[in-house]
């Protein structure tokens, strides 16, 4: 799925990206068998300065997609172009150089910081690795970064365990922006944080985006956070994109039954609305990404398939993989895309 915005230039272009994890057969001699198709052919582009939200439930492949586009995982297939240059499969010195432009913020703000290093060392690591000495020296730069992300620069010599979860995430962000990258993949950066702290970190990310001209790919499961931060949103299910659209459009008028089900499941902190609301419930469990369902991967749980389609229409869902079709500003991978019968929010 590619959306091209002629008015703004594309920083990242991903075509048919695949990431399969090998599995092996049982038996005395173990042969390679069907792989886990964590990411199975996604295409999209990210424009300079925008935020692309990647949303889906656990196991949909969104984190793998984020890591693969940064070459933290080697893609099985497809291509990744950064600023027009093919970076698929780069490694060694080229990859290290690329890291000055592409960074990542991780979910677990504790697990991603070495507990035996001081904050100063952690935030300075990108300079050490790249052999870059900023003007004024590393320490001064690190301290100004710490200040920028809302940490006390005097805490330079403290260790991660002396900080709260929100502060640790700020450390991770300082490290990510240290080299002034152009693109940052944020992998569930606020889902481990309390609500009040979540908002602080989201605001910080937005401020930094304006200040440093950053482009974000924001991976999260929380649809409210995704709506707040993203310009465009891609909804993922079982390794594939179900729907991609501009944020307002996607939330106001979701066309894919999966997007509709997701949105209708978000609890709303408003009892009167909540009591009136109808939910589109998904039946059953997420199918295995080793043997995804034939045809449309969502058909086994699709409420529209179950309730609205005729026998012949269903046949199409079970046999034919839906191609991405453009409906208005949406790109939808559904044979029978269309508005939901009820208000989903």
């Amino acid at each position: 799925m590619t959306t091209t915005h002629p008015e703004s230039d594309v920083i990242l272009e991903v075509k048919d990206l695949q990431k399969h994890f090998p599995t092996r057969t049982s038996g005395i001699i173990r042969r390679a068998s069907d792989p886990v198709k964590a990411v199975d052919g996604i295409s999209f582009s990210v424009n300079r300065g925008e935020t692309l939200g990647l949303v889906g439930e656990s196991g949909c492949g969104k984190s793998t997609a984020g890591r693969t586009m940064l070459q933290l995982l080697e893609p099985t297939g497809g291509s990744i172009h950064y600023n027009g240059r093919d970076i698929t499969g780069v490694h060694g010195a080229d990859l290290r150089k690329l890291r000055t432009e592409m960074q990542m913020v991780f979910q677990d703000p504790y697990g991603s910081l070495n507990p035996r290093q001081t904050i100063g060392t952690i935030v300075a690591a990108p300079f050490d690795i790249q052999g870059i000495t900023p003007d004024g020296g590393v320490k001064a730069e690190v301290q100004s970064l710490m200040e920028r992300v809302g940490l006390n620069p005097e805490h330079y010599n403290r260790y991660p365990h002396e900080f709260s979860g929100g502060q640790r995430q700020r450390i991770g962000i300082a490290r990510a922006v240290a080299l002034r990258p152009k693109l940052i993949v944020c992998d569930e950066p606020v889902s481990a944080l309390d609500v009040s702290i979540q908002a602080q970190v989201v605001n910080l990310l937005e401020d930094l985006q304006t200040e440093y001209d950053l482009t974000y790919v924001f991976v999260a499961h929380d649809l409210s956070v995704i709506r707040h931060i993203s310009d465009r949103v891609a909804v993922m299910y079982l390794g594939k994109f179900m729907e991609v659209a501009d944020r307002d459009e996607l939330y106001a008028n979701p066309l894919h039954p999966y997007t509709q089900a997701l949105l209708s499941a978000v609890p709303i902190p408003d009892p009167r609305k909540e009591n009136k609301r109808e939910r589109i419930l998904l039946k059953g469990d997420l199918p295995s990404p080793i043997n995804p369902p034939s045809g449309c991967v969502f058909h086994t749980r699709c409420p529209r398939f179950r309730e609205e389609l005729s026998e012949t229409e269903r046949k199409r869902c079970t046999t034919e993989i839906p191609l991405v079709q453009k409906i208005g500003n949406h790109e939808v991978a559904c044979h029978f895309a269309g508005a939901a019968k009820i208000d989903v929010i």
């Binding site: 057969t25 049982s26 038996g27 005395i28 173990r30």
Partner: protein
């Protein structure tokens, strides 16, 4: 599961053969001449050469190894000399499969030596194993349940004392005081069941097994204590409590099942390692087991015995590894081998 075991056993066999080759390589690389040790005082160059040939030490190491490996499967003869066999068949020793070689120093097939010494080492290892499992795991559980109390500190502290002393010190101490000075237990001497019945056999094992067990107990107390404490922090124990289960049921059904699984792994590996002989304990108590024999063989350049014992010890360790892994799948339903 069956396929998994087959794969593991096959890999284990390859590993054992590789280990025999490594042992031989080390031996052949030694600057000393192993044949010299078989030659005695009145050695002549001719005799030396003859012995070397008879022992096969004149061959390259690889062909020595091939001969050896063949011997395991089809048997062998020593010395391997068709001419000699014709002229003086009484000087040829027959070594039927599985042949582990022939010791020139003791003029016996290695297998006979091992068959004789193994029960000593195995008895010792198993007796010690039973002692340390009961005492170590038991005390570890008590220490964990009474965490932070005097009891806990006393158990962990005294275990550390035994852990800190070297085996020979504990062994000699027990020997001198318990057996010689105070006469609480009889002076230990190994008696096989066939010779003296179960009673004498156990009596003979008591002190050396205790020595060995004391060294291991400390580790098992700490390990058990740590695992029990870890499981006590698990959410599923909180669930068990919230269900209203009795504390006995929580301990025996929920806590220990989780805590003892990793202990079983460690215990299996430790036992496997000890079955192949314990050098210091056997030495201290003058027990003629595999450990002592291995030391003797190494100091007298008796290659066939050295290789034989290495193989037996390696087989125990590798078997223990496989057994432990398979056991794990039986204990933990999440573990599936395919």
């Amino acid at each position: 599961m069956f396929a998994y075991i087959v794969r593991r056993v096959a890999a284990g066999m390859v590993m054992i053969l590789a280990m025999s080759l490594v042992t031989m390589l080390l031996f052949f690389a030694s600057p000393a001449d192993p044949a010299r040790y078989t030659c005695g005082k009145n050695c002549t160059p001719q005799l030396l050469e003859q012995n070397r040939k008879a022992l096969g030490y004149d061959q390259p190491v690889l062909s020595y190894w091939v001969d050896f490996t063949k011997g395991i499967f089809v048997g062998s003869e020593f010395p391997k000399d068709p001419a000699l066999k014709k002229s003086a068949p009484e000087t040829i020793a027959d070594c039927p499969a599985p042949c582990l070689g022939y010791s020139p120093q003791s003029s016996r097939p290695v297998r006979d030596i091992i068959v004789e010494k193994l029960p000593v080492s195995a008895s010792l290892a198993i007796a010690a194993f039973i002692m340390w499992m009961i005492a170590g795991v038991g005390l570890g559980i008590v220490a964990a349940l009474r965490k932070g109390s005097i009891v806990d500190r006393a158990i962990v502290g005294s275990a550390l004392v035994f852990y800190a002393f070297p085996t020979f010190f504990i062994g000699l101490g027990l020997y001198v005081f318990l057996a010689l000075k105070w006469g609480i237990v009889p002076v230990p001497a190994y008696t096989s069941i066939a010779d003296g019945g179960v009673g004498l056999w156990l009596q003979g094992l008591f002190l050396p097994a205790l020595t060995l067990a004391l060294v291991y107990i400390a580790g098992y107390i700490r390990l058990t204590r740590a695992f029990v404490l870890e499981v006590k922090g698990e959410d599923y124990l909180r669930t068990a409590q919230a269900k209203g289960l009795t504390s006995g049921r929580i301990l025996f059904k929920h806590t220990l099942r989780g805590a003892l699984t990793p202990i079983a792994t460690v215990a299996g590996l430790d036992l496997g390692g000890l079955l192949g002989g314990t050098i210091i304990t056997e030495q201290v108590f003058n027990y003629d087991g595999l450990g002592r024999t291995a030391v003797m063989a190494a100091t007298t350049y008796d290659l066939p015995v050295t290789v034989g014992i290495v193989l037996v010890a390696a087989t125990f360790v590798i078997t223990a590894n496989i057994v432990v892994d398979v056991l794990y799948a039986v204990i933990d339903p999440r573990v599936k081998y395919s």
